[in-house]
């Protein structure tokens, strides 16, 4: 094939440096495929280091398996690919878990429409969703790679925090949605939030000594016992009143301080409650 047009020295230099726009670069590439003379002129102008980088980039793109659906969703909302992969490894952020949480809370919200007892059922159940989610995000029972992860230089405290924030954000979003559709006084829709935070933070504070799932199970049983006692005592239990809410806030804050203060303990395997 013959052509009147050839690459001049300036275009060779600009193309070799990657300084041409997409359209011009495509024209150059289409031409050099057919023109041996321009290929010879272009070849010595291309920096070998740059060529290697470009080639490695192509190889990586072709060779790297596509991220799963959940990770791509996280990329879409602006989460960095590295962090997205750490979150994708969290069992309580999987679709099956979040679906189960949504189903339980939808049932509780539906029950809330039946009257005060239904509303109390929702308020009692809603705080347990984030607690269970956080407990399954870290530790031997919830994270199958936990022991390998502890032996890496990545801070276990940071990993716990990243996952806790993600689990809280998703489960609380589900619970708030359920609460919004629930019939009842406005404050009822958020009255479960501070108990949820208090229970979650206490689970984390205990996680430095006890497997998180055991801590969460114990705390959940305790919470259900208290709630049941309060139900029996009064029609509108003081458990969700202003004084109790302040107490939950205090517990949550104290537990958070404890988590931060003892964060170095997370650098080792948690052995309490498990072999």
């Amino acid at each position: 094939m013959t052509t009147a047009w050839h690459l001049d020295q300036d275009l060779v230099r600009r193309y070799a440096a990657g300084a041409t726009d997409g359209v011009l670069a495509a024209s150059v590439e289409a031409h050099v495929v057919a023109c041996g003379e321009c290929r010879r002129r272009l070849a010595p102008a291309v920096d070998r280091g740059r060529l290697g980088t470009v080639w490695a980039g192509i190889a990586d793109t072709v060779d790297t398996p596509r991220a799963g659906g959940f990770e791509r969703l996280l990329h879409l909302v602006g989460i960095r690919p590295d962090t997205a992969r750490l979150l994708a490894a969290t069992p309580s952020l999987r679709a099956s878990w979040l679906g189960a949480v949504a189903a339980v809370l939808a049932f509780a919200a539906f029950a809330a429409g039946s009257g005060p007892h239904g509303q109390l059922l929702f308020l009692t159940v809603a705080p347990l969703a984030p607690v269970a989610g956080v407990a399954l995000a870290f530790g031997r029972a919830g994270d199958p790679t936990y022991e390998m992860a502890v032996a890496t230089p990545y801070s276990a405290f940071r990993l716990l925090m990243v996952r806790t924030v993600a689990v809280l954000a998703t489960t609380i979003a589900i619970a708030v949605t359920a609460a919004v559709v629930m019939a009842g006084p406005g404050w009822f829709a958020v009255a479960w939030l501070l108990p949820a935070l208090a229970l979650t933070a206490t689970t984390l504070a205990l996680a430095e000594r006890v497997e998180p799932v055991y801590a969460a199970a114990g705390l959940s049983i305790g919470w259900l016992t208290v709630a049941l006692t309060a139900w029996r005592a009064t029609a509108v239990p003081a458990l969700f009143g202003p004084a109790a809410q302040l107490a939950f806030l205090a517990v949550a804050m104290l537990a958070c301080v404890e988590v931060v203060r003892r964060r170095d303990r997370l650098a080792y395997l948690i052995v309490g409650g498990a072999s």
Binding site: A56, G57, D60, D63, T64, P65, A67, G68, P81, D82, R85, L86, A88, A89, P91, R94, D143, P144, T145, Y146, E147, M148, A149, V150, A151, T152, P153, Y154, L159, D264, A267, Y268, L269, V271
Partner: protein, 290 residues
């Protein structure tokens, strides 16, 4: 014998509640392969967890790569140069083999995406899983998962490799490949592995440590361990009452291990004989006898 060795343990102990799992363990390991032999419940896993920095010892002195794992910053330095294969490695089974290794590589602080992916591909090739790297882990066979678990330990070419029973679940061909791999990668790094397979020790290790009930029963070369059993293994048509351990072999005769009576038909000891002498039924101690 210096705290600058890859592993320097002096009187290391670890208890859970009142139960001592490791009691006064000492070891110095330089580059090369050190094999840890011992019966189930001997404390091998707890000990390896201490060496992998995931357990903090209760007592004694432990230095890894010349650093103190009890100090947070030094522990992090150790972990940057450490590969660890736990006894029961778990996986996110929905991940592909590549995604799982990439996840561990992120935890190993490999920040640059492209070079991290290159490293993931390198270890996948190292353990021979190239053809299944895009498959989800739930579709991999047990042997492939063991190799995948080993691959994560090799990420970043660590200077210290702690492998807890790496050959469990591997068929003979895979065990051979594993030995080749460890033999290749043993130079310029220290590898501590535990095993039930005495042949693994004979084939791989320059140093062997036998532990039982949390204590060291033997530490030295495999050849010396075998030599110490010389004159204490004999064949007989019956189970000799003076033997510590005896079993019926394929030709119908009994292989007796222990203090041989005069005139016994002595045979060359194997490393397994030597091991059984150390921790066998009556736990005859060569250390005490010699």
């Amino acid at each position: 014998m210096t705290p600058q060795a890859a592993v320097y343990a002096d009187g290391v102990s670890k208890s859970f509640g009142r139960t001592p799992a490791v009691a006064g363990f000492s070891l110095t390991a330089e580059d090369g392969v050190t094999g840890l032999l011992g019966p189930n419940g001997a404390g091998k896993t707890t000990l390896l967890r201490c060496l992998a920095t995931v357990h903090a010892p209760d007592g004694g002195t432990l230095r890894l790569l010349g650093r103190d794992p009890g100090i947070a910053e030094q522990r992090r330095e150790i972990r940057r140069r450490l590969g660890y294969l736990p006894q029961e490695p778990g996986f996110q089974r929905g991940f592909t083999a590549f995604e799982f290794l990439d996840y561990i590589a992120i935890l190993k602080e490999m920040v640059d995406r492209r070079s991290r992916h290159d490293e993931v591909r390198r270890v996948i090739a190292e353990v021979g899983l190239e053809t299944v790297s895009g498959k989800t882990i739930r579709k991999l066979s047990g042997g492939m998962r063991r190799r995948l678990a080993l691959a994560q330990a090799l990420l970043g070419s660590p200077e210290l490799l702690i492998l807890d029973e790496p050959t469990v679940g591997l068929d003979p061909e895979q065990r051979l490949r594993f030995r080749e791999l460890i033999g290749r990668s043993g130079e310029g790094r220290a590898i501590i592995l535990s095993t039930h397979q005495t042949e693994d020790v004979a084939a791989l290790c320059s140093q062997v440590v036998v532990i039982s009930e949390g204590r060291t029963r033997y530490a030295g070369s495999p050849a010396e361990m075998v030599a110490r059993a010389a004159g204490r293994v004999w064949l007989d048509t019956r189970r000799d009452p003076s033997a510590a351990v005896a079993w019926r072999t394929g030709d119908g005769r009994y292989r007796n291990v222990g203090d041989a009576p005069a005139g016994a038909d002595l045979v060359e000891p194997s490393i397994e004989d030597a091991y059984l002498l150390l921790v066998g039924d009556r736990a005859l101690s060569l250390a005490d006898a010699s």
